[in-house]
């Protein structure tokens, strides 16, 4: 009975993906043939932290410096605006060029120019790989956000975190393997961390909501406050004794074994997870590094620190959301572009702190940090006003750690920073590259549903080898 139970748990908890992972990580090579997922790609990273800047950070006000905007500020010039094009099919309508209100300064050995929105992240440019030539699908937040997470603007597809968890399993059974910290309920909501047709164990676990305060970050159903540990253990023992007795009267059945045993797992989660979520265990110096305790940075600092603690504990994919539930989420400055600064102040120090902390703990080596939005913003004023509209044709994301080449820029936008023109990287390509870094071939990670195989990158995607170290 015992081996059967173990075997079943292995299947129900981690699945064949875990076999692939152990094979990928060089353990247990004899079982490598058990899965078609196993490829010859050497994994460079074990986990991902995705810092999602909801709403669309403006590339020309942050990491993609364009002196031409200063020279031609205020001039009316024809642009192919993505929204106008989608709505009317018209090209080349004139818009007012708008320079960035922020000064750019060179940072690091790379000498890469970063705006005054991100002075702390600027200090870390030599750890970062900027991809300036990103382009994606979807002009509105809903489709573009879904596309960034799931590789599809409209169809219900698994989120990248679910694919990763499905493919690689988790390193810690006592914690969920894919966590999304304070996700928004809008623009696809739960679909953005959903498993869609993948098995339920690949589902992302939401920690808190975008609308909740960040000092309440906790897992559901852990009940750490309502009763004492002793009381809970007494109750658990009762459940277990009754189940053990019922198990004895049943025929051998791996599903029943697993159901009974999952109470042990639940107990371990109850006793271990609260520790992971308890940020008070960190030193003052660490809290400060993340900006915890300062009014502007406290909220996002806590989320970033929690992300590090989850990664340390073996969580495979952690998404940290900076956003809200509104129709114009966070960075969505259609008007009043200077409001970008409020958001930048909230995330700059925590993100830089996270990078420094990951590095000093040696975690950056096998953790991919991905910082970016669902799209960028136009280099011209929207409706000749004070803000910028959505721009899926050219924007910047940066990656760090986990086998990514540090201190480099890749790709270019045109002189206005509007469209990617050199070494363009599509969102599908970014997905393929992240999977590649994790040791997974995006063309081989498939799941059969509704009569055919599906994958994160559909029939697209190419690994951007130039950004790999």
């Amino acid at each position: 009975m015992f081996p059967t139970r173990r075997k079943f748990l292995e299947q129900s908890g981690c699945g064949f993906g875990m076999l692939a992972a152990s094979a990928l990580l060089g353990k247990n090579p004899g079982r490598a043939t058990a899965s078609h997922l196993v490829t010859q790609i050497v994994p460079r990273a074990k986990r991902v932290i995705f810092l999602f800047m909801q709403g669309g950070i403006s590339q020309v006000d942050s990491f993609d410096y364009k002196p031409l905007l200063e020279k031609q500020d205020g001039q009316m010039i024809g642009f192919d605006d993505a929204r106008v094009l989608a709505n009317t099919g018209k090209r080349g309508l004139t818009h007012r060029v708008m320079q960035s209100p922020w000064r750019f300064r060179p940072y690091g050995e790379l000498g890469h120019k970063v705006s005054d929105l991100f002075p702390h992240i600027g200090q870390r440019v030599d750890d970062l790989c900027f991809i300036h030539s990103m382009h994606t699908e979807g002009v509105a937040h809903g489709p573009a956000t879904l596309f960034m997470h799931c590789g599809s603007t409209n169809m219900v597809r698994p989120s990248i975190g679910s694919w990763v968890l499905y493919g690689l399993g988790s390193e810690n059974e006592n914690l969920p393997g894919f966590v999304s910290i304070t996700p928004s309920i809008g623009n696809g909501g739960a679909r953005n961390y959903g498993n869609a047709f993948l098995p339920a164990r690949a589902q992302g676990t939401a920690i808190g909501r975008a609308s909740e305060k960040s000092d309440q970050l906790a897992m559901k159903d852990l009940d750490e406050h309502l009763t004492t540990l002793k009381d809970r253990h007494r109750r658990l023992r009762l459940v277990q004794e009754i189940n053990e007795s019922q198990l004895r009267n049943r025929a051998m059945d791996s599903e029943l074994d697993a159901a009974a045993e999952s109470f042990d797992l639940a107990w371990r989660m109850q006793t271990q997870a609260p520790d992971v979520f308890d940020l008070n265990r960190e030193s003052q110096a660490t809290l400060k590094m993340y900006g915890i305790g300062s009014a502007t940075t406290d909220a996002f600092g806590r989320k970033c620190l929690l992300a590090r603690r989850l990664c340390e504990s073996g969580v495979r994919f952690v998404q940290v959301n900076y956003g809200d539930d509104s129709a114009n989420p966070a960075w969505d400055q259609h008007s009043n572009l200077p409001k970008h600064e409020d958001h930048a102040r909230a995330v700059d120090r925590p993100v830089a702190g996270l990078l420094a902390d990951l590095k000093q703990r040696g975690l950056l080596e096998d953790t991919i940090v991905w910082f970016g939005s669902e799209f960028g913003r136009t280099p011209y004023a929207e409706k000749n006003g004070t803000g910028r509209d959505h721009n899926p044709g050219g924007f910047t994301v940066w990656l760090a750690g986990g086998g990514v080449k540090p201190g480099m820029t890749f790709g270019k936008t045109d002189d206005f920073g509007h469209h990617g023109i050199q070494d363009k990287v599509h969102m599908h390509d970014l997905h393929a590259t992240i999977l590649h870094l994790l040791g997974v071939d995006h063309e081989q990670l498939t799941y059969r549903y509704s009569g055919r195989n599906f994958r994160l990158t559909d029939v697209y995607g190419r690994v951007v080898h130039d950004v790999l170290s």
Binding site: V156, I185, G189, F197, R235, S245, Q246, S262, A266
Partner: protein, 206 residues
């Protein structure tokens, strides 16, 4: 259908001790026993609401507040049968979420059937469960007197439709400790209720 359910094969128990059959047909392809069932999310919810005395058996009708603008963040609080619970794409009752209800945005030919620790956590700690069990415990104690053993026996009949085994009875008496079942705190008696709802025989009927 009538012919099908009247067959001997359909009415066989899933509990068996036939080693020969087990050896020859361990996967039960030939239906020498019944396949074990598992309560799906809806049945689990309805049964728990029935036990707590809260199940609203009224049929039909709209079960969400008038003027509801969007399903985002909607919290399901009805006690109607699950078949009348609104099926919103962007929010579903937590008990559905935990026990493999379908993703309402995709076509699903066959439901997932997962066994994960979150389900156990849900049964142990979720506020919806503990509230139902507290209500159920209150109702039950009002209508049941007698010795601890009598109450335990009645409780088993009520929840599982059978007598407790000796092991089960002693596990509960052990939990009760030096006092009697009637002297237990409401929370502790609710915990006994909860342990039966969490038990295999409840979730996987014979």
């Amino acid at each position: 259908m009538r012919q099908l359910v009247l067959t001997d094969a359909y009415r066989r128990s899933s509990v068996h001790s036939n080693e020969t059959c087990e050896r020859i047909d361990p996967q039960n392809r030939l239906y020498w026993r019944s396949n074990r069932k598992r309560l799906d999310a809806e049945t689990l919810r309805d049964t728990i609401l029935f036990l707590s005395g809260e199940l609203d058996l009224n049929m039909f009708g709209r079960r969400w507040p008038s003027g509801l603008q969007a399903d985002y963040g909607y919290e399901e609080t009805t006690t109607c049968r699950s078949i009348y619970v609104p099926a919103f794409r962007n929010s579903m009752p937590t008990v559905f979420e935990a026990f493999d209800f379908v993703n309402l945005s995709v076509g699903t030919g066959r439901r997932n059937r997962s066994t994960v620790a979150q389900q156990s956590l849900f049964l142990l700690n979720n506020p919806w469960i503990t509230q139902r069990c507290t209500a159920a415990a209150g109702n039950f104690l009002q209508n049941n007197a007698g010795s601890s053993s009598d109450i335990i026996a009645n409780l088993y009949q009520h929840v599982l439709g059978r007598e407790p085994t000796n092991d089960e009875r002693s596990a509960i008496l052990n939990f009760v400790g030096d006092s009697t079942v009637r002297e237990l705190s409401r929370d502790d008696f609710a915990a006994i209720f909860q342990s039966l709802i969490s038990s295999l025989d409840f979730r996987f009927p014979l």
